[in-house]
Symmetry: C2
Subunit: 248 residues, 2 copies
DNA sequence: TTGCAGTTTTAGGTATGCCTAAACCATACT
DNA sequence: AGTATGGTTTAGGCATACCTAAAACTGCAA
């Protein structure tokens, strides 16, 4: 947990933010969150599950609303205002997930879709009261940091599991909540956030992790290892680094 | 609490039920719940805050979906399937309100709008888990009965406060959750559901109620008295009945 | 430098759900 | 019975947000 992203200016949540606009903002933010890549229209389209032309139109609209910067044929970037909208949505989403798991008996692999719908329906008041009731959690059940009321957020510096070199000791920090398979595998193996494991093998993104240095391993397909983020506890120089993240 | 409305056939919640369809069904049900009047298009339009033509179109659509019976120029009636959709929405709404009041510190005059939005966003699973967490409440904070998982519901036989004769002793049973002023007045006067009060005066729908037979009264405008339902504990024959419900 | 491949945008169209204005029916009253 | 009044429906439109097909641009490569 090192840098602390801070966002000023409270409720810049424009009333003209429809459900779609909220989703676009959140998705643009999510695509650029880790790698600071500018976002292409087609990446957005793929992630949102809509056609490319739809993205063009929606992005134009969001530019008019002052939520994104976008010149024709150029990549898409959130404005400060857009970033705040996105963070507000992230806050809602993660607080809702925390609540669903803690108080409604949901499994951590079941909450994503429910939160995805609820986040567009709750009021600012609701979010603040929920936050208070939960004791102002800083992290959701998947290990993702929760933006505070001022939208500032701890930004842990973690590594994709699929990019960690063999023979490292790592601590599981975050799991992508939108990949239920990853969540299910971990739940089955009783590996929880904060658990320390060893990367015993790693090839073309597939990763084998074991609970102890010599223990039996759990094989994780690239797709799953790509959904997990870890902090490196000990990096054994001997192990060759995995070939990196193949598909973008 | 006498008759018990029972509705078979669980989750007849058609997937083609959009937010609008859900609102229409709930509103049609609500308008016909107490008085078993068939619902006119314009009453629906007024309640929903949309134009008359919009209602015609939507009702046609709902007839195609099998949710209402409707011949041109005739009143509108829910089919069994429509009634079940409506009851499912009522269940959601009242459970959400109960939760907001009990666990999120909302006042009973603040929950309506929030529940109104949330009820369209929650899943069947969510509703059932919430119901379980709350201990399967049979009544919401406003005294309205909550349909069970099978959509059956106690149907208390109560009277509009504005129609109760002077000098009756009554118990407050229900307050319309969509009339925040009524809720606020009662909260200010610390009159709660189940409280017994005396109707000491009543003219053209305005009603004065007092905590004791001789105590000082609280004057309730017709509009507010119309939003409260009571059960009559003692009806003093001497008092003249109010002139009844004027509008509608 | 020209051309091609891939991305992005324009053009034109669908579905939902709402609107106003105008036509229509049905009933109640003279 | 004839007609006025009001509720209801048709007709024609608007906004959102999506689609496919076709045109346009960018930038890399021969």
């Amino acid at each position: 947990m090192t840098p602390r992203t801070s966002a000023q200016g409270q409720s810049t949540r424009t009333d003209s933010a429809t459900t779609s606009v909220e989703d676009y903002a959140k998705t643009i933010y999510g695509l650029a969150e880790w790698d600071d890549t500018a976002v292409s229209a087609s990446a957005l389209a793929k992630t949102l599950g809509v056609s490319n032309p739809s993205v063009t139109l929606m992005v134009r609209k969001m530019a008019d609303l002052g939520l994104v910067d976008h010149q024709p044929y150029a990549p898409i970037r959130l404005t400060e205002q857009g970033r705040q909208l996105a963070l507000a949505m992230v806050r809602r989403h993660r607080l809702l997930e925390t609540w669903l798991v803690r108080e409604l008996g949901y499994g951590w692999d079941e909450v994503h879709d429910e939160a995805e719908r609820l986040e567009h329906a709750v009021s600012e008041t609701f979010v603040d009261r929920l936050d208070a009731r939960l004791g102002h959690p800083r992290v959701d059940p998947h290990g993702d940091p929760i933006p505070g009321p001022d939208l500032s957020m701890d930004h842990p510096d973690t590594e994709l599991l699929c990019r960690v070199p063999t023979s490292s000791a790592v601590r599981l920090e975050q799991v992508d909540d939108s990949v239920p398979d990853a969540l299910r595998v971990l739940a089955e193996q009783q590996v929880e956030i904060g658990a320390q494991v060893h990367v015993t093998a790693s090839e073309s993104g597939d990763v084998v992790v074991a609970r102890t240095d010599a223990g039996e391993g759990i094989r994780l397909a690239h797709e799953l290892a790509h959904a997990m983020r870890v902090s490196v506890v000990r990096s054994d120089g001997s192990g060759a680094s995995g070939p990196g993240d193949l598909e973008n």
